[in-house]
Symmetry: C2
Subunit: 416 residues, 2 copies
C-alpha cells in the first residue's frame, strides 16, 4: 500500500499547532470575527464538534440570539484511517485560498470566510447548519431544484475564470505555483485513479462482486483510458479545480447551494470537477433504481435529469464566458473543441469516481445504505459496469445526451 | 505590441547585480573554479565577450597553457531589442538548474557547470570553443554525424526521466514549482505561438511574401490548431523542457554535441523540444534546397534524413525508457498512444517554429544568409507553406515518415 508515502511536510506552523477541543474552540472563536463582538458584549460561546468527514475537525460555535460560526481545523492525519496515515495540515491553507478565489466569482455558492489562522491550520467560516449535506438529502429523496444549475454555474465560473483565457500568463502561473498541492493530489492519483483498477489492498467489496470487478480489470480499453485520465490529472494545469466536488462536499436546500471542502484545490483538467459531481448524481440514480420502489424509481429519473442539467448549464455558461474572454478569445472551432475535450474528460473522470465510490477505500452512503442485500449487490454491480463503460467509451462521446443515454442503458440492463 | 508586459521581477539579487565588463569577468574568474587555482599559481587571466545571442553576456576567460572557462551572465533586458524590453535576470538560475538536472541524465551532452552565483546572475561553465555553433555549421554544410542521434537521445532521456513515469508524484510537483518560469514562457507564447499567426507588429517579412502569409492567416484549420498548440504549451506540464532547443542552442563537431542555453526551461508538453529541433533541420533543408546547387541539394537531403533519425532515436529510446519506468509503467497501448501524442505535438510545434523563424521577430541565418534575392524569397514562401501544412495536418499524422514526406513534398512543390 501507498499510505506510508503520504509524508507530512515540516513547517514552522506545526510547532504551535495542536488540535482544538470544544472548550478551546469556544475560547478561540471569542477572539475573532464574527463572534468576537458577541463575546465582548457578554455572551457565552459554546462549541460542539460535528465533523463527519475524513480529514478535519469541524466546530459549530454558538453565541446568544442565534449567532454562530464554524471553525474548520485540519487534523495531521486522515481521520477515516487514523494517525497511521499522516497528512499535511497545510491543506487548510489551500482550502481557504480556494474560497478566496471563489468569493470573487461565485460568492453566493461558497461559505463566507471570516478569519484565517495558518499557524493553527484553521479558518472561521459561515455556519451552514440551515442547510443539509446534499448526499444525505439525495438519499432521503429530498428535492434540490437549484442544485444542478448552481453546480453547473459553479464549475463554469470557477474553472473558466481561472484558465488561461481569463488570467494573464504570469498571474496564471503564480496561482499554479500557489496551488501546487502534492499530498492531496496523491490521494486522488492513488485512491481514485489507480487502486480501484487493480487488486489493491485499499479496495473493499463483497466477494459476489468479483465478476463485475474482474470485467473491469480485464477491460483493456478501460485500462488504457484510465492511464490517460491519470496522466491528464497529473499534467494538465488548465484551471483551478475544487478537486473533491462530490455531493458530500455540497450543502443545500431548495433555495440555496454551498460548495465546501476545497482542500484538494489545484490546477488540473477542467473536466474533472464536472465529472466528479455528475458521477455522484449517477451513483444516486443507480442506488435509487436498485431500491426499486415507485418513489425511488421516480427520484432516480430526477438524478439523470439533474446530471444533464448540470452539463447543459456548465456548457452554456462556459461557452458564454469563453466568448467574452478578456485575455484570450479562442477561434470558434477551437472553442468548440475545448468544450468537447472537457466533455470527454468529464465522462471519463465520472467513470473513475463511480468505480472508486463502489469498490475503493472511500465509498458512498448512497449505495451502502441500501438495506436489502440483494438490491445492494445489484446496485454495486451496476455501478461497476456503469463506471467501466464510461471510462471505456469516454473518448468517443460526442454529446452529454449520448453519455447519459449510455449510462441509463447500462443501469437498466444491469438492474433488469 | 506585448513587449511592455515583460515586467522585470523585483528581487534582492538585483540590488548587488551589475553587468560585468571584461576586466571584471577576468577578476571574477580568478576567485572560483576552474580557473581560481590557475590564477593562484600566478597565471594572468584574460577575458573576451563573445555573446551573440539575444539575452546574455558570454565571456571566455583564458589562463595560461590553454586553461579556460566561460562566464555566462544574464542581462536585465533582451539584447536583440535593447533596454526597452526588460527581462528578469532570474532566468540564469533556471538555466543552471536545468543543467544540474541534465548532468544526472546526459552528462556527455551538456557543458559542465563549475560555479554558480545567483546574486550576480551568472554561472561559470565549460568552455566549448572547440565546437561550432550547429546552426553556423549547417549553413556551411558541415557534417554532424552525431547530431541527430545525440539530440534524439537528449530529448528522450531528459523528457522521459522528468515525467510522471520516472519521478514520484511529490518530487515531480516540487520540480514543476521550481521551474515555473513565466517571463521566458511568455516570450514563446507570444513570439512563437501567437504573433506570427496574425498581423502583429513584431512580424517581419518582405512584401512579396504577403500571399503566403495571407494563406497562413486565412487557413482556419491552422488557426484552430495553433490555438490548441498554444493551450498545450501553457497547460500541459508533462516533462522538464529545454524550451529553446534550436540549432543555435547547440554546439557540435563530428565527434561531440553539447546542448546550451536552457534558460527557457519549464514543465511543458514532451513534443515541444523534439518539434523545435526538427523544425530547425527542416529550415536548413528548405534553405539548402532553395540555394539549389548540387552540393546544397545533397546537403538538404541529409537534413531530412537527420530529422527522421532524430525522431527514430527519440522514439526508440523513449519507448525503452517507458518500458523500464520505475514509478509508473504504462499499459502497452497507453504507451503507444502517449508516443503518438508526442509525435503529433512535435509536428505541430515544428510548424509553429518554422513559421516564426521565417516571418517572426527572431529569424534564422539559415534563410537570411541566402544571397540570391529570388532564392531567398522562394525559400521563405516555401517555409511558410511548410509550416502551415505541418500545423494544419499535425493532428492527423500517424508516423514521422508521413510528416517528413509531407514536408518534403510541400518544399519540392514550392521550390519547383
Amino acid at each position: 500500500m501507498v499510505k506510508g508515502t503520504y509524508m507530512m511536510m515540516t513547517d514552522s506552523a506545526e510547532a504551535t499547532y495542536h488540535p482544538l477541543d470544544v472548550e478551546e474552540a469556544a475560547t478561540y472563536a471569542a477572539t475573532c470575527p464574527p463572534l468576537g463582538a458577541v463575546a465582548a458584549a457578554g455572551a457565552t460561546l459554546r462549541a460542539r464538534e460535528v465533523g463527519d468527514g475524513n480529514l478535519n475537525l469541524v466546530f459549530i460555535v454558538s453565541g446568544d440570539e442565534g449567532s454562530s460560526a464554524v471553525i474548520k481545523q485540519a487534523l495531521p492525519y486522515v481521520r477515516l484511517v487514523g494517525e497511521s496515515w499522516p497528512l499535511t495540515i497545510q491543506r487548510n491553507r489551500f482550502e481557504r485560498q480556494a474560497f478566496a478565489v471563489y468569493a470573487t466569482m461565485v460568492p453566493d455558492l461558497v461559505p463566507r470566510v471570516y478569519h484565517e489562522d495558518d499557524e493553527r491550520a484553521l479558518f472561521v467560516m459561515e455556519d451552514l447548519s440551515r442547510l443539509r449535506l446534499v448526499r444525505q438529502g439525495l438519499i432521503a429523496r429530498q428535492p434540490f431544484p437549484r442544485l444542478a444549475g448552481d453546480i453547473g454555474r459553479f464549475c463554469a465560473e470557477t474553472l473558466i475564470r481561472t484558465s488561461d483565457f481569463y488570467l494573464g500568463s504570469a498571474e496564471k502561473k503564480r496561482l499554479v505555483a500557489q496551488f501546487i498541492n502534492p499530498e492531496l493530489c496523491k490521494i486522488t492519483e492513488d485512491l481514485v485513479l489507480t487502486d480501484p483498477f487493480y487488486d489493491a489492498t485499499s479496495n473493499s467489496y463483497p466477494p459476489e462482486l468479483q465478476p463485475a470487478v474482474d470485467a473491469l480489470w480485464d477491460d483493456s480499453r478501460a485500462q488504457t483510458n484510465i492511464a490517460g485520465l491519470r496522466h491528464a490529472f497529473m499534467t494538465r494545469a488548465e484551471a483551478l479545480l475544487h478537486g473533491d466536488l462530490h455531493t458530500g462536499s455540497i450543502m443545500g436546500s431548495p433555495e440555496e447551494t454551498k460548495v465546501m471542502d476545497a482542500e484538494f484545490a489545484f490546477f488540473g483538467p477542467i473536466g474533472f470537477d464536472v465529472g466528479m459531481f455528475i458521477a455522484n448524481l449517477f451513483l444516486s440514480a443507480v442506488a435509487h433504481m436498485a431500491r426499486n420502489t415507485p418513489e425511488s424509481r421516480a427520484y432516480a429519473e430526477t438524478m439523470w435529469d439533474a446530471a444533464s442539467e448540470t452539463w447543459d448549464v456548465f456548457e452554456m455558461q462556459a461557452q458564454s464566458l469563453l466568448d467574452a474572454a478578456p485575455v484570450w478569445r479562442l477561434p470558434d472551432e477551437a472553442c468548440d473543441e475545448l468544450i468537447q475535450q472537457v466533455l470527454r474528460d468529464a465522462v471519463g473522470f465520472a467513470g473513475a469516481e463511480v468505480i472508486r465510490r463502489t469498490i475503493g477505500l472511500a465509498q458512498v452512503a448512497d449505495l451502502n445504505t441500501i438495506a436489502d442485500a440483494g438490491a445492494l449487490l445489484r446496485a454495486k454491480a451496476a455501478a461497476v459496469a456503469l463506471g467501466r463503460e464510461l471510462i471505456a467509451e469516454h473518448r468517443d462521446v460526442g454529446s452529454f445526451v449520448q453519455a447519459t443515454d449510455l449510462a441509463r442503458r447500462v443501469c437498466i440492463e444491469e438492474l433488469a
